[in-house]
Amino acid sequence: MIPLKELTAADLAAFIESHLTSKGIEVVLSGGACVSIYSSNKYVSMDLDLINVLFVKSGRLRDAMSEIGFVEEGRYFKHKDTDYFVEFPAGPLSVGSEPVKKIIELERETGTLRMISPTDCVKDRLACYYYWDDLQCLEQAVLVADSEEIDLKEIERWSKGESRLKEFNNIKWRFIKEE
């Protein structure tokens, strides 16, 4: 058994995902933990949102998680050796009204980490900003864009599809990198 205490969010997510995959359960990391990973911890999230892509029943998730020592507490799974907690938001894997089509796979020492791409991560954060005026989410989107290559044209197309083109045009400058 891998000691969980020292694991980063990425290594822990990879460990959990690989264990779940071995049980036939497909999940993909989304949400704030992706911001942490892409921004090299400039933003820290202790919440691992693993999207339950194939809508596996909660009993199966509970059994699989208990095999690696995670205990269900309300909506979350916790482990005595780590401060990170795991949630399984219901699928489908989406950003706003669109499905996520591209999954990034990263090989880590603890297993394979499957997560949304930097561009989808920015869209995911912008969805919070667009719909709930959450400025923290806008800042998180900018952190990802500062650290990773993102497809701004694609984000513009998506924003238009979400009927938020005006909002996007107001914040576009935050994502344009100076030469």
Binding site: R75, P89, A90, S94, G96, S97, P99, A127, Y131, W132
Partner: protein, 109 residues
Amino acid sequence: MLEPLLGSKNAERVLLFLLARKEGYSREIMRFFGGDPDSIHKQLVKFEAGGVLASRKAGRTHLYSFNPRYPFLKELKALLEKALTFYPQDEKERLLMNRRRPRRSGKPL
């Protein structure tokens, strides 16, 4: 009307109420339709867990509304709007015609 599709009367009630009023809490929905507050509450929690609804706290009350990030929201609302057109006129009016504008505290009427 949508019970065969949604699986329960309360599921339909909750969604139609939120479609009409934008926001609501379990006791308010129960007062409107009648029925058991606990089962309305359970339905709200279930929809929130499924990503259909989102909630925020106002004092001690959990206010629920549609989750704008739910990928099928546009289609779900279209279905509910259609269902609402089949509702009896008086029920529809009762749902839609509620006071939204603020009332100054201490105003006699």
